[in-house]
């Protein structure tokens, strides 16, 4: 019957049926596209394109991405505004907090690990009560040949290049208000900034050897290091001579 009336349409379907079929196919196309777009988020994560230093208390990376509800409450409480949120290029890391230590490290100015207290989902583990229990990574002297201490050089004036906006809390200036690193000039014969500004006592030690003009130092990272990245931020060489290995754990040297 349909064939007689509509000779041009060999499928033998009525107008209604053809319209429904088109709608159905269109729905599948859109559905597949939306799911495809969402699943694209896998790639940056699997490939580790954007390995990020996470805020204090972050649980294992995979679980962290799952547990984080992407609300940014940790961003809001941080007194030095160290925490940023991931963008589209991070796939499932969209809206997930991270710290760019070279620009602004976590210096535990807040003392009580505010970001952990703010986290509504426990993606930043509430098991941690003080900064010494945090584990974000481990500092590593990556360019010993560039290290000022190693070269026997000191620091006069600002630690970082002009225009650097990073802030630190200096207990001797104001216990509660962080100030710009560059507003706090130094006058050191041998650079020991990484040890000097480290918020964890005994996490890094700059040992000096020799005397007079031959005097030089070398920084040594200790087991207590929590990987906060303040040393990476303060390091006057560019690129920094000391960096954080994200989520790395301490191994005693053999």
């Amino acid at each position: 019957m349909a064939e007689e009336n509509t000779p041009k349409k060999p499928s033998g379907l009525s107008r209604m049926q053809r319209r429904n079929r088109r709608t159905f196919l269109r729905s599948i196309a859109v559905g597949v596209t939306v799911i495809g777009a969402s699943v694209l988020g896998f790639f940056p994560v699997l490939k580790g394109w954007t390995k990020r230093l996470r805020p204090p208390g972050a649980i294992h990376e995979d679980e962290f991405l799952a547990a984080c509800i992407k609300c940014g409450q940790c961003v809001q409480v941080c007194p030095v505004e160290a925490i940023k949120l991931g963008d589209l290029d991070e796939g499932f890391g969209v809206g997930v907090p991270f710290i760019q230590a070279r620009d602004q490290a976590c210096d535990f100015s807040c003392d009580a690990v505010q970001c952990i207290l703010a986290c509504p989902t426990g993606a930043l583990s509430h098991d941690i009560n003080k900064k010494e229990e945090v584990h974000m990574g481990l500092a590593r002297v990556s360019r010993l040949d560039a290290c000022l201490a190693q070269l026997g050089k000191g620091v006069k004036g600002a630690a970082r290049e002009q225009g650097f906006m990073g802030r630190l809390r200096y207990a001797e200036i104001d216990r509660w208000v962080p100030i710009k690193v560059n507003d706090h000039p130094y006058d050191l014969d041998i650079c020991d900034l990484c040890e000097r500004v480290c918020p964890i006592e005994g996490a890094i030690v700059v040992k000096t050897v020799g005397t007079g003009a031959d005097r030089f130092g070398y920084p040594e990272v200790m087991e207590k290091c929590v990987g906060c990245g303040v040393c990476e931020m303060i390091c006057p060489t560019d690129p920094p001579a000391i960096v954080i290995d994200i989520r790395e754990t301490w191994k005693a040297e053999a």
């Binding site: 559905g31 995979d62 809001q76 963008d87 509504p120």
Partner: protein
């Protein structure tokens, strides 16, 4: 109730009921309406009267609410007043935990650990949105809804000029995607949907600054302007379905009264979810008063446009107290 849930999930709304299926009141009203003379002129006159003094009362209230709520998030962070901390996915309102139901669901499915703070936040929000009507969240809070409304206006304007045409999808698409996103979260262990949720992306962009993710949102809006009217809210967004379930038994509802209705269909033409307004078609209302189904976002646009005040907000059970 069950039937309306099925319609929300994508089933075609029931056909026109037979004479026996009407309640006695509805039957006599339907019969009276059939015999009215000069109906066309009457509809034209009533509409002309409405257009003399068009009210956008509910739309204005809704836009104001939506903007104020989102502004509270932004200003609260800008000026560090700690009124509403966080973003739409999760927040603290005056210190109380709030969590978006869909975001919390995705986190629980992916992380598979029940988090006490999240349960508290979810419970608070569940009660709040159950009282206020579930999808009320969509039209009164969600920032994407507002942008999408503008995209829809452009789409309709272009359609009128015959430049674009609406390519509708099957409403069951959203239900399928809902299940797929839930399964993806469980299997992959990641909150897959959250990475493309325009609600979360927009909320964070406003509070913490814009990013590349806005390109995705822009792409969605372009699609809605040129291809499918209100594609995301109508056919995709799992947040809408989550809140739809929550609001299925909500006290705040839009209700329809058959008596004065002219059945001209202005309400269905502008409704984002017109399948909930099936009863406004001539001969479709089984009762004199019919509650609008759970997919309704309580946006109030049908109330604004109705020339005969046949659609109204109602708080169920309030009559008993007053």
């Amino acid at each position: 109730m069950l039937a309306s849930l099925k319609v929300m999930l994508g089933m075609t709304p029931p056909r026109k009921p037979g004479q026996r299926e009407y309640s006695p009141g509805a039957r006599s009203l339907h019969n009276v309406k059939r015999d009215i003379q000069g109906k066309k002129e009457r509809v034209a006159a009533i509409k002309a009267e409405r257009d003399l003094d068009r009210s956008n009362k509910w739309r204005n209230r809704r836009w104001a609410t939506l903007i104020i709520i989102n502004l509270l998030f932004v200003l609260s962070f800008q000026f560090d007043v700690q009124l509403v901390e966080g973003a739409l996915t999760a927040s603290r309102v005056l210190g109380f935990h709030f969590a978006d139901l869909n975001a919390a669901l995705q986190v629980m499915l992916a992380y598979k650990v029940i988090l006490i703070n999240l349960v508290i936040g979810t419970g608070t929000v569940l009660i709040m949105w159950w009282l206020l009507g579930g999808r009320t969240f969509c039209s009164w809070v969600c920032p994407y809804h507002l942008l999408s409304e503008f995209a829809e206006k452009i789409h309709l304007w272009l359609a009128k000029a015959n430049i674009v045409r609406d390519f509708p999808l099957h409403r069951g698409t959203r239900t399928v995607l809902y299940v797929v996103f839930a399964l993806l979260a469980v299997v992959s262990g990641y909150t897959v949907f959250e990475s493309i949720s325009p609600t979360g992306i927009l909320s964070r962009a406003m509070i913490y600054g814009p990013g590349l993710a806005l390109l995705w949102v822009a792409g969605l809006l372009v699609f809605e302007v040129f291809v499918t009217r209100r594609a995301w809210c109508r056919y995709v967004c799992p947040i809408g379905l989550t809140y739809g379930f929550v609001g299925a038994t909500a006290p705040v509802q839009v209700t329809y009264n058959l008596e004065d209705c002219l059945h001209e269909g202005d309400c269905r033409a502008l409704c984002m979810v017109p399948h909930v307004l099936e009863m406004t078609k001539k001969g479709y209302a089984r009762d004199v008063d019919v509650a609008v189904g759970p997919d309704c976002t309580r946006c109030g646009m049908c109330i604004d446009i109705c020339p005969t005040n046949s659609l109204n907000f109602e708080v169920k059970g309030l009559k008993h107290f007053l």
